[in-house]
Amino acid sequence: MYEGIIFAGFGGQGIILSGKLICIAAMREGKNVSHIPSYGAEMRGGTANCSVVISDEEIASPLIRQPSICVVMNKPSLFKFEESVQAGGLLIYNTSLIDLKPSRDDIRAVPVQANDLAQEEGNVRSANMIALGLLLRLKPELAALDSVISALDEAVSARNRSLNIINTKSLKRGFSLS
């Protein structure tokens, strides 16, 4: 297994956290992982993304040109990354904030109403967990849902840890989608 994943959205959506969380979970399962955040002159509300590699083998290059998986949480991210997804790859897109369909027909595009479902689970800020839960459902080889839930305490900073109850519910909700 070798998956190059890009998580993308706007600053504040927990994009970097999604990547870190799945990395910790996969690492604890014995897989090799790498995580590189975008770190341009970023600002709140600007775009944020991170590149994650999860692999059974040693990771040669942690840099990703063409992701096999892309999770886009807002419209600018769809515009930016849709083209780069490998043919046959997976694109998860957040229809709560994206009102159009991906144009590629050579990839598997899966919509998710991440913000709306997160709101139903108690906090719109856990939209990233809805999307991540769905990703774990579609690509179970990346990491087990339980591993990701267990990794929340390390990945989430102390001041936000009280949200982990809702994060856990949201991961499970995303995982239950089909």
Partner: protein
């Protein structure tokens, strides 16, 4: 055995320095290495160390000079423009034969450049950077694990040879998180009692010089001693790594992040049956000239890959073109990107495929 953890490259440098016994860290912030000072600011005061954010890079490197002269393990870190500002101090440290670890998480240049990772400071790191006939040992890690291991090793090398050791990373390595096992302290001890400024009560004072006006050959004597030390280091401290290079017909040469890209290219080429291998210098000075000469003996072509316009390339040429063996005739090709751009795996693969035609 230490457990496997996920840590960011820059933070790993801080933690590894603490593991190595570094309790003094002086720096001035600059992207993309700000997690190092942030980490040291958090950790050092809790373990009896001193973190000080200096008013400038110049101040920081001279604080390093002071702590080192007093016998302490000390580190500073910066990124390219900040390292340029520290060159005067690095030359002084070299002239005074003081140990120190200087981390450069290279960003795009020249000038203030940008904040993306780059390898544009190879010349500066390996050729001295500051004035005078001096060398620094230059270590080039290619993974977060190696950032940790080489940081610990850098302190030992600095103390062993009483000189500056440069850890040459880049912005990507600093920002990247990977799984690693934190290293153990090496356990090596270095006796600094013959020169360190620890208070002269009951003994003759020690003096740390970097100005030697008279008698006349005094400065040359120091230089000769330094040069003898450098020759010894060239003999004993060369480090490199090879990957699938034994039966290779095409040898990719890269350090740091570029080497990771090369490794991915080698894997793709090998799957196609093309015999590609990787040679990765870990010490950029001393450069593994003999090793690369040997590795290139049965090679059809060498391809240097760098995140600059061809700097290590010159060391490869020096190594091969001055060789008396068959490797002097090897064709050396180059693939590089500048200004914070990264060479593409596919581009490298395509280049090597074309060698076959």
């Amino acid at each position: 055995m230490a457990e496997t953890v996920l840590m960011k490259g820059n933070e790993v440098i801080g933690e590894a320095a603490i593991i190595a016994g570094c309790r003094y860290y002086f720096a001035y912030p600059i992207t993309p290495q700000n997690e190092i000072p942030a980490y040291m600011a958090l950790r050092l005061p809790r373990i009896g160390g001193t973190f000080l954010q200096a008013e400038s890079e110049l101040a920081a490197i001279n604080m390093v000079f002071g702590a080192s002269a007093a016998g302490a393990r000390v580190m500073t870190s910066s990124a390219s423009p900040g390292i340029s500002l520290k060159q005067e101090g690095i030359s002084y440290l070299s002239g005074a034969e003081l140990p120190a670890v200087v981390v450069n998480m290279v960003r795009g240049g020249p000038g203030l450049g940008n904040i993306a990772g780059s390898q544009g400071d190879y010349f500066q790191a390996t050729r001295g950077g500051g004035h005078g006939d001096y060398r620094t040992i230059v270590l080039a890690p290619a993974s977060v694990q190696e950032l940790a291991d080489l940081t610990v090793e850098a302190f030992d090398l600095a103390d062993q040879y009483r000189m500056v050791v440069v850890l040459l990373g880049d912005g990507y390595l600093g920002q990247m998180s990977e799984s690693l096992k934190l290293p153990e302290p090496s356990g090596k001890e270095f006796d600094k009692s013959s020169w360190a400024l620890t208070g002269a009560s009951g003994r003759a004072p020690h003096i740390v010089y970097s100005l030697r006006l008279s008698p006349e050959p005094a400065l040359e004597e120091v230089n000769l001693r330094l040069q003898a030390k450098y020759r010894e280091i060239e003999k004993n401290e060369v480090r490199f790594d090879t990957y699938r290079s034994k039966d290779a017909e095409y040898l990719l040469v890269g350090f740091g992040t570029s080497a990771r890209i090369c490794k991915a290219a080698v894997n793709i080429l090998r799957r196609e049956g093309i015999k590609a291998g990787l040679f990765r210098p870990i010490t950029l000075w001393p450069f593994p000239s003999l090793a690369i000469e040997r590795a290139a003996g049965s090679i059809k072509k060498v391809l240097a890959v760098e995140m600059n316009a061809g700097q290590m390339l010159e060391d490869i040429r020096l190594a091969l073109w001055t060789s008396t063996s068959s490797s002097r005739n090897v064709v050396i090709d180059f693939c590089g990107r500048t200004g914070g751009m990264i060479p593409d795996v596919d581009e490298i693969v395509e280049r090597v495929r074309n060698y076959e035609k």
